[in-house]
């Protein structure tokens, strides 16, 4: 068998690896500026409007498993091709540590299914070390990023309200939707105990921002990716217009193995495996941008070894892969007797909550942990899917029936059918999403033994939560119970205790993993400079969440987008000046 790497003939100005938030934004900005771009995506092409791929507005019975999560972890209709496990693409974990790695392989990546929670980091979030002495400051502050947050808001669209809350910066907000009934109950409960609840900030178009994207039609299915582009996903909102410039060649099903460098150690392009013909290809470009997701980009760098970069590319600091961190998460469910026997109406609303709780205790130094969390809420008369109606025996013995008699839990027949109807819409829940403190030891590295089915060495993860995160989860659980009792609800299940770290999810479960190629001013302690440019390799950039010094309790997407735009502007200037 001969081994040959096939050279793609055009030489590009820029080769971008990954088409999610960071890669999509870089493609859009740089294509608009006239650069010739190769956009390389490890998954297939994807368009939510393509009837062969569409899941929006489908009914549960259209799936033989009624939407169960066997094939896609968030259910059949969720629009992320991939999950925590991919066939033929394993990863490993160091003994005694936990990390679950969610990968989505498709144009637009995970932006097709994400929660659209679009929060700006606040001034504090960039400088937490100044405030609590832990972790590290970012080399940039809110004022550096603010102009780009503004631009992202206007380009993409996000609803919300101007609240003037310190560290929860306001933006260019479209008007929010009115709260649902259960959200009003939540608000009643939280207001009694001084916890704020404000309109969510979601990148969903309650009004239009341009003529190409329609307004939201309130089907609640943003996780299925919107066929009229009424919400943000990178493929629909950034890659599509970038392609229309004619400046972008899209390579799909192209699994990048490494960045190729010349004798001086500069990037000259990428080497990928075409998943369809399984042949090796090379794309040449003046600049390489990695935006394959924090861990995938770190993996590509670590696998790009050469005599000039024996430690992996851009890794003279030995920091690539380190400081991996995810948001914390813990949750609780409740039953609301006052929400039984509800009048039926369509309360789908937007895909996600209409109200949420931003972190409210920045000034409280007595908590025993340093960093905050926000609270997300759910409930309502949603569309049934697999799992709907499970465990009725835990509910229908809790309250008197219509005849006033409390019956035995469980049962069958017409009575059971009526019970399912009565309880519909009376279950609610909440989840905390918190900031963790990045640790150097929490990391991914190249596994010394294993390769994936393409022969690419795989990642090995080392990750342990610290007491900080566990205490934060305990606080979440106490808060949840307080909210539930103040809104007239009954908490369901046992309260998660110390033995389960207060319900704290495994790292990786919240899918906000960032930090593996952190930015900083000191090349000995960071991988990237403050413009997402590799200290060691000036024509190499990383524009995904890898650049984060710390992930606030805010979801990372809006900051990835703003930083990718900022870095793309810088890159274009440097190229014009001849510095790259």
């Amino acid at each position: 068998m001969s081994f040959q790497i096939i050279e793609q003939s055009p030489k590009y100005d820029v080769c971008i690896v990954g088409s999610g938030a960071g890669g999509g934004m870089a493609a859009k900005i740089l294509a608009d500026k006239g650069f010739k771009i190769a956009l390389v995506e490890a998954g297939p092409n994807f368009d939510p409007a393509n009837p062969q791929q569409r899941t929006q507005l489908r009914w549960p019975w259209e799936s033989p498993r009624r939407g169960a999560g066997t094939m896609r972890p968030f259910g059949d209709f969720d629009m992320a091709y991939g999950g925590w496990e991919l066939d033929g693409e394993p990863y490993t974990r160091a003994q005694g540590t936990e990390f679950d790695w969610f990968r989505s392989r498709m144009l637009g990546g995970r932006t097709n299914h994400w929660g659209r929670i679009s929060l700006r980091f606040g001034p504090l979030d960039f400088k937490r070390k100044d405030f609590d002495g832990k972790g590290d400051n970012w080399p940039i502050g809110y004022d550096d990023v603010k102009p780009y947050y503004d631009k992202v808001d206007k380009l993409i669209g996000v609803f919300g309200t101007r609240e003037n809350i310190p560290n929860e910066p306001d933006g260019y907000f479209l008007p929010p939707p009115k709260p649902r009934l259960h959200e009003l109950y939540f608000q009643k409960g939280t207001s009694k105990i001084g916890i704020p609840m404000i309109p969510s900030r979601l990148s969903i178009l309650t009004k239009r921002v341009n003529k190409k994207r329609a307004a939201c039609f309130y089907c609640n299915q943003c996780s299925r990716s919107c066929s009229v582009y009424g919400d943000f996903s990178s493929s629909s909102v950034l890659v599509n217009p970038a392609m229309e410039t004619g400046k972008v060649d899209l390579y799909t099903n192209a699994m990048v193995r490494e960045v190729i460098t010349d004798g001086e150690g500069n990037a000259t392009g990428v080497h990928y495996i075409n998943k369809e013909d399984l042949k090796d290809y090379r794309i040449k470009a003046k600049v390489v941008i990695l935006a394959a997701s924090a861990c995938s980009s770190a993996r590509i760098l670590l696998n790009s070894k050469s005599s000039v970069h024996p430690n992996g590319l851009a890794n003279s600091s030995n920091v690539v892969g380190k400081y991996l961190h995810d948001s914390t998460g813990s949750s609780r469910m409740a039953f609301m007797p006052s929400l039984m026997d509800r009048k039926r109406y369509n309360e789908d609303g937007v895909g996600g909550m209409h109200l949420y709780t931003p972190w409210w205790l920045n000034d409280d130094k007595s908590l025993g942990f340093s960093r905050g969390y926000h609270i997300e809420y759910w409930g309502g008369m949603g569309m049934p899917a697999y799992g709907f109606g499970f465990n009725m025996e835990n509910l229908n013995g809790m309250v008197p029936g219509i005849d006033g008699e409390t019956k035995k839990a469980g049962g069958y027949g017409v009575e059971l059918m009526k019970d399912v109807k009565r309880f519909y819409g009376s279950l609610v829940g909440m989840a905390g999403r918190g900031e963790s403190i990045p640790q150097e030891e929490n990391r991914c590295e190249i596994d010394k033994e294993k390769v994936d089915k393409f022969g690419i060495p795989v990642l090995k993860f080392h990750y342990k939560w610290t007491e900080e995160e566990v205490k934060q989860a305990a606080h979440m659980q106490d808060t949840f119970e307080e909210i539930i009792s103040n809104m007239g609800g009954m908490a369901l299940g046992e309260k998660p205790g110390k033995d389960s770290s207060y319900g704290l999810e495994n790292p990786g479960r919240i899918i906000h993993e960032v930090g593996t190629t952190r930015m900083g001013s000191d090349p000995k302690k960071s991988v990237l400079n403050k413009y997402n440019q590799a200290h060691d390799v000036p024509n190499l950039f990383v524009m995904d969440g890898g650049s984060f010094v710390s992930q606030a309790d805010k979801n990372p997407t809006w900051t990835i987008l703003a930083l990718a735009w900022r870095a793309s502007d810088y890159l274009a200037d440097e190229m014009k000046k001849g510095n790259i």
């Binding site: 507005l57 649902r180 009003l184 921002v209 789908d348 609303g349 399912v420």
Partner: protein, 232 residues
């Protein structure tokens, strides 16, 4: 005969059986091409790998015909219809057959549970569960349908019944008939303009002025936002 067809046979009974079989047993006529031309039963935006797995599962049988008959009877005991179709006519047995193959952790508890039920039926009445009178069937079900109130000798049966209740309930309420019965009103393009006034009133809630003034007005939803004069 694949599972989909054999299920149909079990559901429609004698006459249907002979019709389906006669068609398949006619060896002189190659009808396989004809029967292969069928619209895909499930067409919901799958990737090729997902579609292949669905197809493979649909072609396999997990339950024996005897087990399937019991599942059909149990389905209708659990969800007999309430001015709506019973579970057996709402696709519940087909769903249970599929999900058992799809989620293997259901397999042993379901197979074993059905066997438990059969054994219990023979112990009490010397007949299989499906051959018992309605009253006899219900007598057994009553002993296993209330997990908090179950005699020690029936705890395993109660476990099985709880799983069965879960699957039948979820199968029913995710069927077209079940969604209609439930009264779910969404999954269609619409305009959300808040909780209906009578519902707000009933729950003692109201939208305050701040919410009302800031929320999206339905008539403005198709306008392109103009940031003139907007300050942050």
């Amino acid at each position: 005969m694949d599972r989909r067809e054999s299920l149909r046979t079990l559901l429609i009974g004698g006459a249907g059986t002979s019709l389906l079989l006669s068609c398949r047993l006619d060896e002189d006529t190659d009808v396989s091409k004809l029967t292969d031309i069928k619209e895909r039963e499930f067409d919901y935006g799958r990737t090729p790998a997902e579609e292949a797995r669905d197809e493979a599962l649909l072609e396999q049988d997990f339950y024996t015909d005897e087990e399937m008959k019991t599942i059909i009877v149990l389905s209708d005991i659990i969800m007999p219809g309430d001015g709506s179709k019973p579970a057996s006519e709402a696709g519940v047995p087909e769903f249970i057959e599929f999900i058992t193959k799809d989620i293997p952790s259901h397999q042993t508890p379901m197979r074993g549970g059905l066997r438990w039920l059969k054994n219990e039926s023979y112990k009490r009445y010397e007949k299989d569960f499906v051959d018992l009178s309605k009253e006899q069937q219900i007598a057994i079900i009553e002993d296993i349908a209330y997990p908090e109130d179950v005699k020690p000798e029936f705890t395993q049966g109660a476990q099985f019944f709880s799983r069965m209740r879960n699957l039948v309930t979820t199968g029913y309420f995710t069927s077209k008939e079940g969604v209609e019965y439930l009264g779910y009103m969404g999954n269609k393009p619409n305009v959300w303009d808040g909780v209906p006034a009578d519902v707000l009133q009933k729950h003692g809630m109201k939208y305050d002025e701040k919410i009302l003034s800031r929320s999206i007005k339905p008539e403005e939803r198709n306008d392109i936002e103009d940031w003139e004069g907007y300050e942050i």
